[in-house]
Structures are given as structure tokens and as C-alpha cells.
């Protein structure tokens, strides 16, 4: 890090703000700031930056992201309601599940095409996510038919959602 570098969000130079009289190492607000900043930049350059870059580049990637996010919200919200009614947990969990399902309903509105096309494609994604869910949480190992069926379903999704149409904005071109 350069000598005179200023951390974003501060109006002061953090290097100069350390009092010269310090002889012991304390956890000062300055060190805390540095640690927070380094952690933030590391995490964002590793995980967040590639995602936002990809999002800026092509719509294909953001649409895949929204499909997966919708799947997570649907299964998560449904699971919380299941916990409320079948595992006798607090109604607060049920309400939270309902709210997550409401958020799940919002995600497809961020997708760039017709309602029925988004939902039909999501059905195909759901097939694969249901098998994955069974594999992770119920220990149901997918067999060869599950895998072949998933690949066929995804092929269907690609045709429904990602086939370029005349007179429609392509999902495969760069965004302006």
C-alpha cells in the first residue's frame, strides 16, 4: 500500500492520524479500519467484482443468477413454512417464510422477457434444484437417469429462454 493512500470513505489520511507517541501496539481505530478495509477489498475482488463485471457484460449471466436466486428463495421460504406447520416451530418462522416467498415472486420481474417464458424456464431449473436439494439434505444420490433427465431439462430451458429470436433484444450481446 502506498504511503499517502487514503482509504475510501475517510476524509483523513489514516497513516498520519496515528499518534507518534505510541510505543505499544494497541488495537486502535486505525488498525481496525485497515483490517476492515483489507477484508473488504479482498472479499469484493474475489467474489463480488467478478459477479458485477459479468453482470455488466452480458444479460445471460444475470438471468442465470436470477433463476438460481429464485430457486433458493422458493425452497428456503417453503422450508420455513414447513418448519412452522410440520415441525411445530414458532409462527414467526412461518411469517418469515411467507415474506421470503413474496421476495421470490419479485425476482422474476427482474428478468428481461415475457411472464410465461420466464416461468416455463424456471420449471426446468426447478427440476435440477429439486434433485440437488434431495441430494444435499435427504441424501438421495442421483442415478444416471436423474442426470440424463436433468441434462435434457436444461437443454429444454436453453431452447425456451436463450434461443435468439428475431425482433427481440438478444441476451447474448453486450449490454449498452
Amino acid at each position: 500500500m502506498a504511503e499517502v493512500e487514503q482509504y475510501p470513505g475517510t476524509s483523513f489520511n489514516t497513516r498520519q492520524s496515528v499518534p507518534k507517541t505510541f510505543t505499544h501496539t494497541y488495537i486502535t481505530s486505525d488498525t481496525l479500519h485497515k483490517v476492515t478495509y483489507t477484508t473488504y477489498t479482498t472479499i469484493s475482488s474475489l467474489f463480488v467484482q467478478p459477479l458485477t463485471d459479468a453482470y455488466k457484460r452480458k444479460k445471460v449471466i444475470s438471468t442465470i443468477f436470477f433463476f438460481l436466486l429464485a430457486g433458493l428463495f422458493e425452497i428456503g421460504g417453503g422450508y420455513l413454512i414447513w418448519l412452522w406447520l410440520r415441525a411445530d416451530m414458532s409462527w414467526v418462522i412461518g411469517v418469515l417464510g411467507g415474506f421470503i416467498l413474496f421476495l421470490y415472486g419479485i425476482i422474476p420481474t427482474l428478468q428481461p422477457t415475457y411472464f410465461h417464458r420466464i416461468y416455463a424456464s424456471y420449471g426446468g431449473i426447478f427440476i435440477v434444484m429439486a434433485l440437488l436439494w434431495g441430494f444435499i439434505f435427504e441424501k438421495e444420490v442421483p442415478d444416471i437417469f436423474d442426470i440424463v433427465g436433468s441434462v435434457v431439462a436444461i437443454a429444454g430451458v436453453i431452447i425456451i429462454f436463450y434461443a435468439p429470436r428475431k425482433g427481440e433484444e438478444s441476451l447474448w450481446s453486450k449490454q449498452h
Binding site: E74, G77, G78, L80, I81, W82, L85, R86, G97, G98, F99, L101, F102, Y104, G105, I106, P108, T109, Y114, F115, H116, R117, Y119, A120, S121, Y122, G123, G124, F126, I127, A130, L131, W133, G134, F135, E138, E140, P142, D143, F145, D146, V148, G149, S150, V151, V152, A153, I154, A155, G156, V157, I158, I159, I160, F161, A163, R165
Partner: protein
Amino acid sequence: MVKAALIFSDLTPFFVLTSIALFFVAAIAEIGGGYMVWKWLRERKGVLFGILGGIVLFVYGVIPTFQPAQFGRVYAAYGGIFIISSILWGMLVDRKKPDRYEVIGSVIAVMGAVIIFYAPR
């Protein structure tokens, strides 16, 4: 062994019919709720639609708790039912004829669900 025996003993016509009926009800609630939220946010039809959509989606979340079937492959079949329902919803409610890619792709995706559900094991 016991679990497998239970699953097979459950596959009575009543079980299968209840299961399929519940999946269709679930699909209608899920797509209907999503459609109302869509009306609110994409077609600016007022927040009342959004609230109603939220309630319908909550009801959708309750339906699977009555579902006798609880394993991944049955839910994969639900994916197939969901695809057909979405296309039908577009035709009946939105009056949008599916284009050729939607028809071909849906048939292929449903075939995937059929492979998963009906494969001889």
C-alpha cells in the same frame, strides 16, 4: 428397507391422485401469486396486486405441507407440471401464443422430467 417398503406401499392410486392434484393446485397458486406480483411491478397495476400476490404465494407455501410425497424425484415431476402450467397460463390469461422455441423447449424439458420420474429402476 423399512423406508423403501413404506414408499412403495404409499404408491396407491389414491396417493398418486392426491399427489398430482396437490401439485396442480400448487402450480396454479405459485404462478398466480407470481403473476400478481408481476402485475404490480411490471405493469404498474397498483400495490394491491402485490399484496394479494404475496398472500397467494404464502398459501402456496402451505400447500406442500399436505403433500404426501416428500422426495426429490417427485418434486422433479412437479417441475414438469409447472412448465406445462406456465405455458397454459400464458395462453389462457395473457393470451400469448407460445412461439416455436417455447413449445419445442417445453416438450424437451418435460421429457427430462418424465425420464427422471418414469425411468425403470
